[in-house]
């Protein structure tokens, strides 16, 4: 019986070794270790043995059983691993193939610039004010200290609809309307929008373009507040190490009036083609709100003061992104628009 047991063991071990996959090995397990297998049969047949041999034989059978089980389990682990390996190999893909595109569009570059500016000023407590693109001469000019016949009206040749109605030439009428509506209360607004001037469209002119203006009115608003605000803006939009400088200028609705230059973000001030070798780039116009403008909107210019500034998102986008022709913003060429996809925060 012992010999029979040894033979069984040899046979089983051989079959385990020969098994090439999990299924075959499971068949071996059932064949040798199962309830109907020869080892179980041997155990059942022990009754025929003399009583004193039984324990020894029982131990021996168990030993063989354990040995076979152990080898089988080891083989099983190996084959399972192999099986997984094979499956993985079969499932392997070319990871360099293109992914399924998630097609998304993006903001127009002008909107991108406008929203960036809006968000910056919102964080400083400003609201966004909007108004009509077709305006009354009163709000577009008169309320801004540009009475009929004022020479500075020539600066802004306009599209008139009738004698008193025109396409707004700047977003300043929104300021005039807001002041009228706020009835003497403090104001902190940003006014973005489309504006129109009688210009032939070319690389640097567009009969329709965008403006974004700001207005702050309150007690004791000073020119230093304007300068500080513009500096925050310049650093945020064009980089932390930007410097600003103010140059005297003229706008009918502000007094004093200034233009703001920023140190060139390309060359840092040493002179390049972006700054036309000057180290400075003109970015916006600004000034202290003219007392006539305040008074016309019902504000007491002795008690309240304010500052205003205005800039062209087209110009900013052209500078920031190196766009050389303003018409690109209105052609809507997808090859142009799609370049403004990535974030830049």
């Amino acid at each position: 019986m012992e010999a029979q047991l040894q033979q069984l063991k040899e046979e089983a071990l051989q079959k385990i070794e020969a098994s090439q996959n999990v299924k075959e090995l499971n068949d071996v397990r059932v064949a040798y270790l199962g309830k109907k297998g020869p080892i179980t049969d041997l155990l059942k047949g022990m009754g025929k043995l003399p009583a004193e041999e039984r324990p020894k034989m029982g131990a021996l059978v168990n030993l063989v059983r354990e040995e076979v089980t152990e080898v089988l389990e080891a083989r099983m682990t190996l084959l399972q691993e192999q099986a997984i390996q094979e499956q993985l190999e079969k499932e392997s893909i070319d990871v360099t193939l293109p992914g399924r595109p998630v097609k998304t569009g993006n903001h127009h570059p002008l909107t991108r610039v406008v929203e960036e500016i809006e968000d910056l000023f919102i964080s400083m407590g400003y609201e966004i004010a909007e108004g009509p693109e077709v305006e009354k001469d009163y709000y577009n000019f008169e309320a801004l200290n540009l009475p009929k016949g004022h020479p500075a009206r020539d600066m802004q040749d306009s599209f008139y609809i009738s004698e008193d109605i025109l396409l707004r030439t700047h977003t300043s009428p929104v300021q005039a309307r807001t002041m009228e509506a706020k009835q003497g209360k403090p104001i902190k607004i940003i006014c973005p929008g489309k504006v129109y001037r009688r210009d032939n469209d070319d690389a640097t002119h567009s009969h329709q373009f965008t403006q974004i203006e700001g207005l702050v009115i309150g007690e004791n608003i000073r020119m230093s507040d304007l300068k500080g605000t513009l500096s925050v803006f310049a650093k945020k939009m064009f980089g932390e190490d930007r410097e600003i400088r103010l140059r005297p200028s003229f706008f009918p609705f502000t007094e004093p009036s200034v233009e703001m230059d920023i140190s060139c973000f390309k060359c840092g001030g040493s002179g390049c083609n972006v700054c036309k070798k000057t180290g400075w780039i003109e970015i916006l116009g600004a000034g202290m709100v003219h007392p006539n403008v305040l008074e016309m909107a019902g504000y007491d210019s002795k008690k309240l003061s304010g500052f205003a500034f205005g800039m062209g998102p087209e110009r900013i986008a052209m500078l920031k992104y190196g766009v050389e022709d303003i018409r690109h913003f209105y052609t809507n060429d997808v090859r142009f628009l799609s370049q403004f996809h990535r974030t830049e925060v």
Binding site: T104, H108, G149, M223, L246, T331, N332
Partner: protein, 803 residues
């Protein structure tokens, strides 16, 4: 304004500053210097030559062989100018010279003859043709006999000079004169002024014996001064005067005209010279023109006048258009001997009107329009008289003929130093302020904590306290202003709900694959109403620049379609664009058009393009409809959203719907009509336009969550056979109405029309979801509800259950 720095230095010490540096200082303190122009353009080897001999080239008719004394030697130069002649002093560019156009002068042979240089015209030296005196416009320039042979020609021509080009803002008309610029530079550099001299010996005869004067329009012409100068010899002006005029952008004519222009540039006071004898009446009458009256101006144009144009007359007929241009009938000519110099103050409004009506802008009108200095009217007249005596041999008659009711008092501005400092956010001392006012040469007094300032009349822009704030700030330097942020009551900033939603709409559409476009609001009249959501009168420009941009749009679609055409023509495989912008409808009570914010989108080409995995799909109606449905879901409006078949001009009649919210029309969606696609050279293109303002202003329910139920829902699918025309929307509505409260969802999941169906029929399959959040539904309940649905479908839509 073009400012010769050499000329400027006659009135103010420019401290030997390099013109670039001077320009920078002027720019930083208030007047922008647009350009610094080196008149020499770096030229060398340009000298005075003497033409000793000039003979025709044997081989070429148009060429002359000249022997020219250039100082060191006499050399041969071939010259093609028609006016070259023996005995002339000329400008010679010697070999090695580089002329402004980049031309390098070398020894050369012309048709076999040696040429050692070039005899030059003024144009060749970089002077604009329009500024070259007429006599030399077509040939070489001839220098006066006094020129020294061999010396550099540049100083003689004023080309050893640098010109500052000022970009003047409308308020700084004071800088439209050399004296004005000198005041500005004097203030910047703390230098005093040197005024031009006016001095001459008066004749025994009086001007008033020669001329009488009457002004019939005092408000248009509050001051008129006339000087009479006799025995004038008309000739070329001295070279120094001519080149100063050319540097200032004025063409020299003759000494009399040049002197009036010179004084205009010097004082900013326009002058006019009449030929006294041609006036014929010994009388000047200033009056408004008669309607329809005519005058031939100096440019030989006949002009018909209106009753608001001011004219100078000889008592009978107009002899000048006041402040704008003289008349041809009284023009100074070669035979003139007695001239009348007019120096007047014409009101800006009348000059602007006249100049605008006749499209005639002159150096004179530009200055009158902005307002001249009342205190320079007489000084300029005297200066001109003095120059006429000096340079034209004239005899100045005693006194002037004058009418004068002009207010010449300066404006007084009272301002406290505290006000100035508060406005600037600075602490400038009183001493510093008074020092600045002194440099600006303003009359002032400091007393009782205030500055009492008499603004000089040359500075018409100084009227109020804020103007003084600006003067102090710009002279003190804006760099010195500290940087602060506004303090005080802080208002919470932010977007309005509308603005925030609009941003989300943009983000959603971009997430859905559309690019934001921005197109023009102005379009052609023909296009303006196309695809408009409502019928309303259009808004047109009074004077459009072109028909293409004459009318405000009422729909965003046409320009978006233009963009699709543009992109398609450039091989774009698919185009998906949206725009948010205003349309302009009719007229509101205020007279302005009703501006409505709209959203439009266009899609064309492929929508899904992932070809290596076999996923490709062209755009269709339902792609765009899905985008709209998703948008309404985002905005909480999907329950109220319906689409109804519609007919819209320009869209495919079978593939167009009107979009409604709670039954109210808010937009349209559809495929571009095939014939429209053809004209625009487009493949299938789908468009949608929504009244965004209406959509975003819709009230929506507050978002409040429903508990997630632990009870299961039960689904039942039904496949229906209906007539082909039956719309899915109708079936869905029947199901929803008949399903009772347990029916929580209806979802169309299959549609079949084809050979397996009886002709004229189609099969539509819905999945219905029944659900009660409170408990598990019994089979019986579901069957009951479901049967009601089937019954309703059969009765109302003739739908049969498909076996």
């Amino acid at each position: 304004m073009l400012v010769s720095t050499k000329w400027l230095a006659e009135y103010v010490n420019t401290q030997g500053l390099d013109p670039k540096e001077l320009g920078e200082k002027i720019t930083r303190s208030g007047i922008e210097v647009d350009a610094v122009i080196d008149r020499s353009h770096g030229m060398t080897n340009v000298v005075v030559g003497y033409v000793k001999e000039c003979v025709k080239h044997p081989e070429a008719d148009k060429l002359n062989i000249c022997q020219v004394d250039v100082g060191e030697e006499t050399t041969q130069i071939i010259c093609g100018a028609p006016n070259v002649a023996e005995g002339q002093k000329v400008i010679v560019a010697r070999p090695g010279a580089v002329l402004p156009g980049g031309m390098k002068i070398k020894k050369a042979k012309l048709r076999g003859e040696e040429s050692n240089g070039m005899i030059c015209s003024l144009q060749e030296l970089g002077i604009e043709g329009r500024l070259v005196p007429k006599a030399y416009a077509e040939g070489i320039y001839v220098l006066p006999e006094t020129a020294t042979v061999g010396e550099s020609a540049l100083p003689l021509l004023g080309l050893d000079d640098t010109v500052l080009e000022l970009g003047l803002t409308p308020n700084r008309s004071d800088a439209l004169s050399m004296l004005g610029v000198a005041y500005e530079v004097g203030a910047i550099l703390s230098e005093d002024m040197k005024y031009p001299e006016a001095g001459y010996t008066e004749s025994n005869e009086k001007a008033t014996d020669y001329l009488s004067l009457r002004v019939d329009a005092m408000s248009e012409n509050p001051m008129y001064v006339a000087k009479v100068v006799k025995n004038v010899q008309i000739s070329e002006s001295p070279l120094w005067l001519q080149h100063r005029l050319m540097a200032a952008g004025v063409r020299p004519h003759n000494n009399v005209v040049d002197i009036t222009n010179y004084v205009l540039m010097e004082y900013g006071q326009p002058l006019h010279a009449f030929d006294y004898d041609r006036l014929a009446t010994k009388e000047i009458v200033v009056r408004l023109a008669n309607e329809g009256e005519k005058i031939v101006t100096l440019d030989d144009q006949e002009r018909t006048l209106k009753s608001n144009h001011l004219v100078i007359t000889n008592g009978k007929e107009p002899v000048a258009l006041a402040g704008v241009m003289g008349g041809a009938n009284s023009e100074v000519h070669d035979g003139t001997t007695t001239v009348v110099i007019e120096s007047a103050y014409f009101a800006s409004g009348t000059v602007r009107q006249t100049s605008k009506d006749h499209s005639l802008r002159s150096d004179a009108s530009a200055r009158f329009e902005k307002g001249v200095d009342p205190n320079r009217v007489i000084a300029a007249a005297e200066r001109a008289a003095s120059l006429l005596a000096e340079l034209a041999g004239g005899e100045v008659l005693a006194g002037s003929v004058i009418v004068d009711e002009l207010d010449k008092e300066p404006v007084e501005v009272v301002v406290s130093p505290d006000f100035i400092n508060n406005r600037l956010g600075m602490k400038i001392s009183l001493e510093e302020m008074t020092s600045i006012l002194t440099r600006l040469k303003f009359d002032f007094e400091a007393a009782n904590g205030f500055l009492y300032i008499k603004a000089p009349t040359r500075r018409q822009d100084i009227k109020i306290e804020e103007d003084i704030v600006e003067e102090i700030a710009r002279m003190y330097g804006y760099d010195e202003i500290p940087m602060t942020l506004p303090v005080g009551e802080s208002i919470p900033g932010g977007l309005t709900s509308y603005q925030a939603k609009r941003r989300q709409v943009r983000a959603y559409l971009e997430g859905a694959g559309l690019y934001q476009a921005i197109t023009y609001s102005l379009t052609s009249k023909e296009m303006s109403q196309k695809f408009a959501l409502e019928t309303a009168p259009v808004t047109e420009l009074l004077m459009p620049m072109s028909e293409e941009r004459s009318t405000l749009r009422q729909s965003l679609i046409p320009h978006l379609l233009d963009a699709v055409t543009y992109n398609t023509a450039r091989q774009a495989e698919s185009v998906a664009l949206y725009e948010v912008g205003s349309v302009f409808l009719g007229e509101t009570e205020s007279g302005l058009p009703h501006e409505q914010e709209h959203l439009a989108a266009v899609i064309a080409g492929k929508w899904v393009d992932h070809s290596w995995q076999g996923e490709r799909k062209a755009v269709d109606f339902f792609v765009l409809k899905g985008v709209v449905e998703g948008l309404m879901e985002l905005l909480g409006l999907s329950k109220e959203l319906t689409f109804e078949r519609a007919i819209v001009d320009g869209l495919h009649p079978g593939r167009t719907a009107s979009i409604k919210l709670a039954g109210e029309e808010i937009g349209l969606i559809g495929q571009l009509h095939p014939s429209e696609q053809k004209t625009r050279d487009l493949k299938d293109t789908y468009v949608v336009e929504l009244n965004l303002a209406k959509v975003l202003n819709k009230e929506v329910e507050v978002l409040y969550h429903e508990p997630v139920s632990k009870f299961p829902s039960i689904s039942r699918d039904i496949a229906l056979v209906v007539d082909s025309e039956k719309e899915a929307g109708e079936l869905q509505a029947i199901i929803q109405l008949s399903g009772g409260r347990l029916l929580k969802g209806v979802h169309l999941f299959d549609l079949y029309e084809g050979e397996k169906m009886e002709p004229g029929k189609k099969s539509v399959a819905f999945s219905l979801t029944y659900f009660d959040p409170e408990r598990t539904l019994t089979d019986e309940e579901v069957v009951n509800a479901h049967n009601k649905v089937l019954k309703a479908l059969a009765e109302q839509a003739g739908a049969e259950l498909r076996g």
